[in-house]
Structure formats: structure tokens, C-alpha cells
Symmetry: none
Amino acid sequence: MEYRRLGNSGMKVSEISLGGWVTFGASVNDQQMVRDIVVKAYESGINFFDQADVYARGKSEEMMGAVLREFPRHTLVVSSKVFWPMSDHINDRGLSRKHVLESIDGSLKRLGTDYLDIYFAHRYDPETPMEEIVMAFDHVVRSGRAMYWGTSEWTAAQIAEAVTFARANGLHAPVTEQPQYSMLYRDRVEKEILPATTRHGVGLVVWSPLAMGMLTGKYDEGMPEGSRLSDNEGFAKSFLTEANRERVKALKPIADDLGLTRSQLALAWALRQPGVSSVITGATKVHQVEDNVKAAGVKLSEDVISRIDQILAS
Amino acid sequence: MEYRRLGNSGMKVSEISLGGWVTFGASVNDQQMVRDIVVKAYESGINFFDQADVYARGKSEEMMGAVLREFPRHTLVVSSKVFWPMSDHINDRGLSRKHVLESIDGSLKRLGTDYLDIYFAHRYDPETPMEEIVMAFDHVVRSGRAMYWGTSEWTAAQIAEAVTFARANGLHAPVTEQPQYSMLYRDRVEKEILPATTRHGVGLVVWSPLAMGMLTGKYDEGMPEGSRLSDNEGFAKSFLTEANRERVKALKPIADDLGLTRSQLALAWALRQPGVSSVITGATKVHQVEDNVKAAGVKLSEDVISRIDQILAS
Amino acid sequence: MEYRRLGNSGMKVSEISLGGWVTFGASVNDQQMVRDIVVKAYESGINFFDQADVYARGKSEEMMGAVLREFPRHTLVVSSKVFWPMSDHINDRGLSRKHVLESIDGSLKRLGTDYLDIYFAHRYDPETPMEEIVMAFDHVVRSGRAMYWGTSEWTAAQIAEAVTFARANGLHAPVTEQPQYSMLYRDRVEKEILPATTRHGVGLVVWSPLAMGMLTGKYDEGMPEGSRLSDNEGFAKSFLTEANRERVKALKPIADDLGLTRSQLALAWALRQPGVSSVITGATKVHQVEDNVKAAGVKLSEDVISRIDQILAS
Amino acid sequence: MEYRRLGNSGMKVSEISLGGWVTFGASVNDQQMVRDIVVKAYESGINFFDQADVYARGKSEEMMGAVLREFPRHTLVVSSKVFWPMSDHINDRGLSRKHVLESIDGSLKRLGTDYLDIYFAHRYDPETPMEEIVMAFDHVVRSGRAMYWGTSEWTAAQIAEAVTFARANGLHAPVTEQPQYSMLYRDRVEKEILPATTRHGVGLVVWSPLAMGMLTGKYDEGMPEGSRLSDNEGFAKSFLTEANRERVKALKPIADDLGLTRSQLALAWALRQPGVSSVITGATKVHQVEDNVKAAGVKLSEDVISRIDQILAS
């Protein structure tokens, strides 16, 4: 496994990481299965495990946490997130100081750890002042509940403001942003986010690098019944187009030439950006972990990248 | 004439303003003609006159300045800009402290005034540190050379950083941004810029609100010889498409219904955004000023805006 | 025993201190022997006991800690350090906030104490931002895990930056630097380090003041089998030269005249610098402690220092 | 002529620059000769002209300034310096706020300009607090007397402290350091200065890149009567050794192979460091300027650099 600095910070994360989104506590409900997947990931050199309070309403944190406790804490980079509603209670959402500080304690308990390595603001909250948000996450770090904090799906301007405000006031600045990024969803990251995060030393850890599984090739012939994608209407609509299916099929010969699966090609492609610190993968089966980790360290040539660009632009 | 605050600042600018770009010193080289246009603008209530060192390499400042000197200084809002090369000398460009401070003195001299109301960074300069840029423009303001400073064609993240850095350090923050914005070039401003400038109290003064004249309707039948547009290859390519010509023609009945010219409709449409403080118009003839100023104060109904949206999206 | 302020701080350390480097858990593996040495040191007035996580991979901390627990905690100045790899895990090294905070908890446990008096950054880490390093050590102090923090083998410029950044931001600044310094390795400290540390109130606690034992005279006739030095190729190469052997022999008459051993002379010589707060000695036998502590309080005359300078420059 | 950013600042300086040290007002006392040299430099693309109050006690500033006034001010980068005694008056030396502010006004008058581009602290002054020094030079910049400020012959620790103190307090930080640097005097810059200045975005403009002329080859056979070197005892002693003469002779075949003079090779060699923004040359004859400017833009191969390293280390 290859490791990269998380942005400009001193902490290093595995190029391939494992997230609990839409898998643990959802499509994977068997604790033994979760254990098999997480142990395989750890043994393959993955050190970064990504969670959120809202994944399966806390169940994902619990199932993954039960396994992570088996490993020495300092060998892990464990994250969680706060923003989305955890209940109907009016303050059980958003990025108010109250919710941020109350929420992390719940995540720590569910994960069974004394501190997180990264605590993410899962979205930007326009109903909380930027100052309150940055000071709340600074407090999370200063109180020892997390080593670092980050953002997810914030705009470049929001990231620039948060970092600049934090630095100017001696507060802990976010060191990472978690955006969606893949061959089929690239423009926002490449045009807007990377110029700002690179400037501010913020490292990207990207979600859905396989475009909800589209890039594995399993939807080449359309959507099978019962697939993960079918549970996510919005994503299905945006990714499962005829044009995308043609693109994904056209990637196959390139992957074959390199002796890679299309999943591995897609992960290596996202990692070609030096501003990306890690790609977060999900897994419902052990062999998917085995497949994904092989994308670490793969360098794509300029020629291959150019051919991929042509396919994606078609 | 209606007036609006320039962002959150205390200074007010006319909704319709007059700029010297690609007209004075270029297509309009007769000083009497310049005088007629500027006097008409002033007498019509326009108070904001927009310049740049680089417009006709200083000649536009000189020709407009010669007229502006006839009016009481405090009744005017005069701007200029710095960034583009004024000569081949290596430091005669960009946003170094050296060039910013040297350049404004040249603009003041050409305009014949002791101070500007707004001094714009005409573009962002990646070869000068943000700190140096903000401190140089702060110095422009503190030394009395300008009342305020602004940016032009900066990204939302750059604006957010500049404002946040300035506020945190007790420096003068930019109060305005000058982007390109029109019915035919709207996405960047609406999706990226306005959310950031609105948040930071930065008012937009937009250039090319008539899309290089396309929105007047004068290119309905294609490009006539000798038109301004023909001198600007790049713009021509981007605006003078068949689709755009259809859109502009389709706007005619809407304008007619409202008793407006299409130019007036286009200006009123840009001004429907509360985040826009002024639209900068150019004029080569006096009647264009008379036509344009009538767009001030025009309120478009939700229904009209929605019909326009449909035409522009087609 | 004589005591000195640790730089400008209010805490005082014994001129002679005892370190666990390359002795405890290594050449001295008998706990009773460790106890005899540490008790003798304590009873001789030594209050400063220097450790690092990496000395014998934690064993040195454990063996020394087991003895230190016998004494009232407030009578001790206990240090440890962080930087060098403690395992193959990617984050188990360096000065990331994660590793600094995780590592001190391990040292506290091994030493069996609730807090350190000094926590050292064992080297500078170019892969962690200076801001993160200073804020992490500030957190170590604010969270009560250590009373003070220091650096080891940092350049003068790095020390100056760390102190200046910390002071300007209300953070705990380092109060001590631990460089190598001895009669046979003096230039770097005297020319580069002392001017900076003196200016910034940073006190030196120097390691290897006997140049890996060379200055005791035990290598006058060359290297005996099984000596400590022979285990340290790099040091051997740099110190065990013919020229150095001549120098060390030439020091003997000076030491004899003063009724000192050459070890005592070497320690007193390092302590002639007011910028040095303590010299860290190692011991594998009780009598070495007895010998070393007699160097405390010895003042060398200008004449003696001048004669030594001549010998060292030869 | 090639140009480089002065450190991280936005201002650019010519790779080859012209200084007035030990030439104008000293060995060159004819104003017409000074004019010929300066005009040749300007016409060759040199834009950076380096002065100090103390060069020929102000006469060098006067003679060079009389010529510089012929050129548009914004096409020049003019520097001067303060520190060395200008008279016997007790406050007419050092870096007190009083002397810094009084001194620059004298330099501006002698040079006949309203502002300098760079004002250098000619040495560090241990008798003035760092805070006073930085605040005095910040005032120089804020009051418009200079665009930027720099240091000369400061230690890495002093530079690191000045920059860090300035940044943390919103003051103008130094952007350049002027050290001695040449093939025959390289260690201090390469080992101590460059690591610190590179980190802090401070660009080097180096003096004596030809080692007082030694590197031209004109002393290959020893010192001729009446040479510049003979007037500078200290330099003579340090450079004019037998070993250095051998080294300089050994450089001749390398220069010949590249079609360069040894002067050009020496200047290009200093410029191989990206952390060096300009090399300051002196000239007593017009043809020396013509010779020196040809070193701009010359890239030395790794192989050539390695061969030079071997010669210099011999």
C-alpha cells in the first residue's frame, strides 16, 4: 500500500481507504461479514476508515467500530462526520456549536474510541455563522476529541474562507475536503475545488470514485434488479445514462491493456491528481477490497490519461 | 436614475454606468464626441464612470478624464484598473506592490484627478502573493489614492480569501467585483460568484451586459462589416452562434410587450439581481446612452423572468 | 550539585543529568543495575533524567521509570522525546499532531508518570507544517501532559521560527534545545545554535558531552573489543581519529593539574557556556555517576580554557 | 535578459544586476564613465541597480542616481542600504528607527527619486531590538519610501525571526537577503542561508559573485599592482590563495568548452540556484557589463555542475 500526506498535514493516509457508506448496517448487516471486509482492508495496508454518524443512523459506526477496536489505535486513521439529521429533534442536525460537540461524543461512543483522527463537517450549514463553525471544530481539536477536522462538499469559496479565517485567528484550519469525484463526475473538483484546496494545503479524500459502481462495468448491460444503484434514485438518474454506459465500455480495452480491472483503472485515475490524498471505496464483499487495493501505487502514463480524457469527453 | 450601494459599502453608484472599454480612444477618437457622450451620461444621472489604464493604452482615461474634470469631483464615482501590461517592461504588469502603486499614479494623472473612487485588480496575479496584493490595495486606500478597491474576474475562492484575510488583519477589504455577466454569459456569476460576493458584502458591477452588443439585436441577421464585434475575434466566436441569434430574436416580443428595447430588457434583467450594483455600458453615440439609462429602475415580473429563462435555456 | 534555570524558564535542572540513551535496555539490561545507577544519581543531586520513546524501543523508559517512581515526583525533571519510528506503521513516526499526542501517552505509561517535565521533538520533521508542530506541542503542555517542550537537533532558523511563531500567537514556545556538544564537536553549537538560543531564552541540554566516551581517555590506545563505541559505526568514524586521540591525550596534564579526570574536565568545559543548562551523561556503572557529578560547579579559568582551545584547534 | 521574481514577491529583477560598490565614486570617478556603464547596463536589460548610503560615502548613490534619472522610474528597481556609519555622530549608524528613517531620506535625495524599490538593512544590529528594526522597515514601506525591504548578511535565524514576527503581526516582512556568494565562498549560503530563505520566500541577491574579481582569471598569475583587490586587504587574504588560483585556472577549460568566459561561468553557476534572484556585478568598464550580461539565461548541465564541484572541493 502507498500512503500520502493528508494535504499539508503531517498525518498520512492510505491511497485506498474504506468507507461505511451505504454498505455497513445497510446492504451488509452481518457483523461477521463486516469483520471479514474490515480485517482484509487492514491487512492489505488500508489505514483510513471513513464513517459518518448518519450512515445507517449510527449502525455503520457501530459495526465498523467493533472491528477497529481489535487493532492498535495508533495504526488507524478513523473519521466521522456531522451535519445531517440524526433524529427529528430540531438541534439534532446542522453545524451549530451545540450539535457539533454533542454529536462527536455520540460518534466516539458508537465507534468505541477516545478520539477521531478526522471530524468532517458533512455539508456547509448556511444557518450557522462561519465563525461559529470554525470555532466549534477548533474546539473539537483542542479538546482532544479529534486530531484534525475537514469539510465535505463545501464550495471553494467556503473552504478558502474557513482556512483563511482560522489561520488569521490562530485556530485549527481544516486539512481535508471530501468531495464526490470520479471519471463520470469530474468538472466541479477539477475546475473549482482543486485550485483552492491546493493553494490552501487541503487534501482531498474523494467519495464515490467508482460512480456508485458504474465504473466497475457491472451496469454495462443496464441495471440488474436489486443492485445498490437501484436504491439510489438520484444517482441512478445522473450516472446510468446511455452515454455513460458507452464510456464505461470504451474504458475496458484500456484497462485490459494495463492488466487492470476497470475499478482499478478508475481509482488510479482519481489518484493521478497529487491534490487527492485518498479514494474512499465501499465493499460488500471481501474480494472487492482485494481488487481495489491493487490500484494503490499504479501510475498512469500521459498517453493513457489522454486516451481516457477523450473517452470521457465523448 | 436609480442608485444602489456598492455592495455593503456606503457609496452609491448609478444602476447604469458608463465605461471607456473598446470605445474611447478606439472606435471613438473624437474628443467632442466623447464629451457629448459623457455629458449626456452625467446629465442623465449616471455617476459611475469606469476606466482602466489599459483601455486604449491610457488614451481612454485621458479622453474621459478631460470631460469629467468639468463636473464637481464629489458628484462622480471614477474607477480605474491595474494588471495588464502597459509596456514591455517586466514590472509594468501584474499586481506587485511596485506596479500597483506606480500604476495608480499614472491613472490619476491621465484622468486628472487626485483620487479614484474604486481601484480594481483587473485580474488575479498568481505570481504575487495574496498578502502582497491585499496589502498593496490597502495602501492605495490608506494613502488616499482611492476610496475603495475591487477585483475583476477573480474566482469566488480568491474573493473569499482576500476579504477574509483583509478583515482579519484590519486591512481594507475589496468592496466590489467586476465580472462579465449577461443573458448570454450567466452561469459563472450565478453559480459561483454571487453566492460568495453576497456573503461577503461585495457588490458586482458587471461588464458586457449586452454581450458585446449581441443583445441589442443588431446581429440578428449576422455580423455586419466594421462592427465592434468583428474586432474581437474571441468574443465573436463565443457569442455569435446560430443558437444565440435565435435566443436574441425570441426576446424581441417580450421587450416589445414591456415597451422596452432589447438592450433595456437585457440591462434590467442583469439588474434584477440584488447582488449587482451596476451594469457598465459602453457607447459610441449619444442616443445609446439615452436608450440605456431608461433601463434603470425597471422591475421585471417573475413571469417575465421565467419566460426569459426558458428562452435562454433553449 | 549545582542547578541552573532551563533557559529563561522558571524550572531548574542539575548541571549534570542522567540519560538512558544506548545504556538502559541496551548495554545495561539488569534492572537492579539500572536501579543502582539511578538511585546513585538521585542521591548525588541529579534531578534531570532524560529519556526518549525510541531508546531501546521503550525499554529504557520502562527500566528508568520503574526506579523514578520511588522518588517524590516533584523532585524530578523527567523528559522524553518523539520523532523516530517506533514501528513500521506509517503514522508511528514524525511530528504530526496525531503521532505527537499518541506518542506521549505511550511514554507516560512506560515511565509510569502522569506528566513529563519536558517533551522533546527529537528532530525537525519537514513533512509536517511548523504550525502543526508548534500547536501540537502547545497542546501537550495545555493538556497537562508535559510542563514544557523542547527541540533536539533543530537548526537555529527552525528554533527562531518556532519561538517567534509561538510567542506571536500566544502558544507555549520551546524552552530548551538538545544538541550534540562536546570538545570534539563544538562548532555547530557555538557558531550557529548558541547565538539563537541565547537570544530566545532557550537553554541547551547537551548530549554526548564525552563524545561517545572518547573524552574519558579510554580509547587513548584505540578501540577495545566490545566497547560502546564499536556498536556505533557512524560515531566511531567521526570521533576515533588519530588527531582526536592526540587531542584527548594532550588534555590529560590539564585535567591532572586541576585534580580532575578528563571526563570531569570535558563536562565542566561544556558547562562553561552560560547558555548550556545541563550536560546529559550516560552510565553503565555506578562509579561513572560518582565521577561525573563532581564536574558540577567546577569553574575553569580563562587560562585553562585558552589552553584547551589550543589543543582542540591543533 | 532573463528576469526572476524577487523571492515570493511580485516584483521581478534581472538575473544580472549592477551595483555601485567599490566602483562608482571610488575607482570610477568620472561621471561620463559612470553614465556609459549604467546606460549600457540599462540597454542590456539590467533593471536592478544596487546602492548603499555608505558606498563612497554617498557619492556612489549620487553618480548612479544622476544617470538613472534619465530612465522612466517604473522601469527600474533601485535599492539602497542602511547600517554602516555615515559620520562620527553617534546615531548616524545602526538600525535604530531614528537612523533608518533619517537615512533613507538622505539616500532618496542623493539618488534623486521619490522612493526606493528595496531598502536593505546592511547588517544586523544587535544594539536595536528586532521589534524596532522590523517596525522601522515596515514604516519605510507603509510611508511609501520603499516598495519592499530586505536584509544583508543576516543569519538564517535572524531572517526566520524577522519574517515570522512580521507575518504574525501584520507587518511587511523582508522579501530579500543580500549575502556574499560565489564559487569561492559558498558554504554559508548553501548550508545555512538557502534552507531558511527558501522556506520563507526570501530571494537572494548575491554580492561578490566573482569573488572580488578572482573568478575572472585576472589574478591567475598573482596580484598585479593597482588592482581593486589590493585595496581590500581582508578580501585579498581570504581569496588570493595558491589553492584558489589553481581552482580558478582549472575552471578555464570548462568555460572554454561552453563558449563562456570564466566570469560568465561564475555568474551562471550562482544563478543555477533557484533561490538566487540576481547576481550583483560591478563594472569599471563598459565591456565588463557587456561580458556579464551574457551569463543571463545560461543553463549549466548537471555534468558541468558536478565537474565544477570537484574542482572547488579540491
